[in-house]
């Protein structure tokens, strides 16, 4: 029997190629870089703070991803269903698992490329002062992991509907829950009456809590594991949803 040596790699290549053969990749990267510039230098007060670090840059990433990543993920599966290509893909000798992973990795690679292209900010801070580059590296890793978490949620939401706009809105809503559950507003709302373990559990589910820890340079296995589990769980859910919904 003839089979691709790595079917997920073949799907990955097709998807990534597809991003760059349409304006999507370029629009995504340019907007991502412009927004990062505005957030870091204007809103984040990069110069005014007078500190040689990239905290103002990374602090905005959860909120930036909240809108950028769902836009990247919304077509992952909904387009396959809309175009009918899901029927083609699922009747090729490839496991659903490989298709889900290949597509996810392509979107994740694109977000990684966009993130790497922010390197002028890193050069700037090194030119102006002597930052702790280990912390910056950890923060980059944390940011990319967080993007993966958002994307995996987006993959699942995109599998739910053939309408990409609905997928976008659902993804933003769920990602917002995952980000905001660690914010002061939500935690304060629980702190008065709920038992400590509950508010700890809510904070523990938040992307913010884990990303903050990593972006301060604390590479705790538990934070890394958190994102790995989030990605794995949502991709698993994606596969189940695709299996259930493909008939309609």
């Amino acid at each position: 029997m003839k089979q691709a040596i790595s079917p997920s790699l073949t799907v990955f290549k097709r998807e990534l190629w597809s991003y760059f053969s349409t304006p999507l990749a370029y629009v995504f990267i340019v907007i991502f870089l412009v927004m990062n510039g505005i957030f870091t230098f204007d809103l984040g007060g990069f110069y005014i703070r007078g500190q040689a670090d990239l905290q103002p840059f990374f602090n905005f990433h959860p909120w930036l991803y909240l809108f950028m990543i769902p836009a990247l993920a919304m077509g992952l599966w909904s387009d396959e269903r809309k175009e009918g290509t899901i029927e083609l893909l699922m009747t090729l000798p490839i496991r659903l698992r490989d298709a889900v992973i290949g597509k996810f990795l392509a979107a994740w690679a694109l977000s990684g490329i966009a993130l790497l292209l922010t390197f002028p900010i890193w050069i700037t801070v090194n030119y102006l002062g002597a930052p702790d580059n280990g912390v910056i590296l950890a923060a980059y890793l944390g940011s990319w992991l967080m993007a993966g978490g958002f994307l995996a949620i987006g993959s699942c939401m995109s599998a739910i509907t053939r309408n990409a706009v609905i997928a976008f809105i659902l993804t933003v809503a769920i990602c917002f829950v995952f980000v905001s559950s660690g914010s002061a507003i939500v935690l304060n709302a629980f702190s008065g009456w709920a038992p400590q373990f509950l508010s700890d559990a809510i904070a523990g589910l938040s992307f913010l809590t884990h990303f903050d820890a990593i972006s301060k340079g604390v590479l705790d296995v538990r934070d890394l594991l958190f994102f790995a589990i989030v990605i794995g769980a949502w991709l698993f859910a994606s596969a189940i949803v695709i299996e259930i919904k493909k008939a309609n």
Binding site: K2, Q3, R14, S21, E83, G84, E87, P93, A247
Partner: protein
């Protein structure tokens, strides 16, 4: 050999495929006929492993489509209804993708792609994006991906739908040429197509087989009052209407 063993597919409120049971052997070109909504496409989706049957099973050359999905799927070439393909890809890159998924690499991949492009005459649009192509060319791209790995089993869901007479003729020639030592299942509305390419025809209605035989046998069963023209396709049409209209009247 394809064995379709008592497959049933239920959707929420109706039964699309109701206990279908038949076998197709090498060298047969099976025309799969039926009115709209009779369950033709659903049956093809089950045979190709896209949909799981509610009960029953399909065995492709000894491989169960559910339990040995990859082995079974690697034997099948499938043109889904509407010939879907990735609109933002060029014809060549799309076919290269299919070839890679099918396990061809490097030179072998390129020669397979070159071969099918020649087979279905896509040379003039090979570097164009699929979204810019006419319906006829898109259909041919779909056919190209289905025959790329020289599959033992070829399943074509309305391969000539929307083509002009020349293109239809070409696709029929192609199917006839490919059919040797293969198993071909073609669904169609066009009854002259059955007389032209098929060695056997199955008519289904409301998910059940209502007729199974060679086109000539079915034509012979046409009741006189339905026959409009005595040409062979006319007789087949008469039989088709005779056997499927009963269902419509009952609704």
């Amino acid at each position: 050999m394809i064995e379709i063993k008592n497959i049933t597919r239920k959707f929420e409120h109706f039964t699309a495929v109701d206990n279908l049971d038949f076998t197709v052997s090498e060298g047969e070109v099976l025309g799969f006929l039926g009115p709209n909504g009779a369950g033709k496409s659903t049956t093809m989706k089950i045979i190709t492993g896209f949909l799981a049957p509610s009960s029953g099973t399909v065995v492709i050359d000894g491989h169960d489509i559910t339990n040995e999905a990859l082995q079974a799927k690697s034997l099948i070439g499938y043109l889904p209804e509407g010939a879907p393909s990735y609109p933002d890809m060029t014809v060549v890159s799309f076919l290269e993708f299919i070839a890679e998924i099918r396990g061809y690499r490097d030179q072998e991949r390129d020669s397979r792609v070159e071969y099918v492009i020649k087979q279905v005459e896509l040379g003039s649009v090979a570097e164009q994006r699929i979204e810019t192509l006419s319906k006829g060319f898109k259909r041919r791209v779909g056919l190209a991906q289905a025959i790329l790995h020289d599959p033992k089993v070829l399943i074509l869901d309305e391969p000539t739908d929307g083509l002009d007479p020349n293109q239809k003729h070409h696709v029929r020639d192609l199917i006839r040429n490919l059919a040797k030592d293969k198993i071909v299942i073609v669904s169609t509305h066009i009854l002259e197509e059955v007389s032209a390419v098929c060695t056997r025809a199955i008519i289904i209605s409301e998910g059940r087989i209502v007729a199974d035989g060679t086109p000539a046998e079915l034509e012979a069963q046409a009741p006189e009052e339905h026959i409009v023209t005595s040409a062979a396709p006319g007789r087949l049409e008469a039989f088709f209407r005779h056997i499927t209209e009963k269902g419509v009247q009952a609704v």
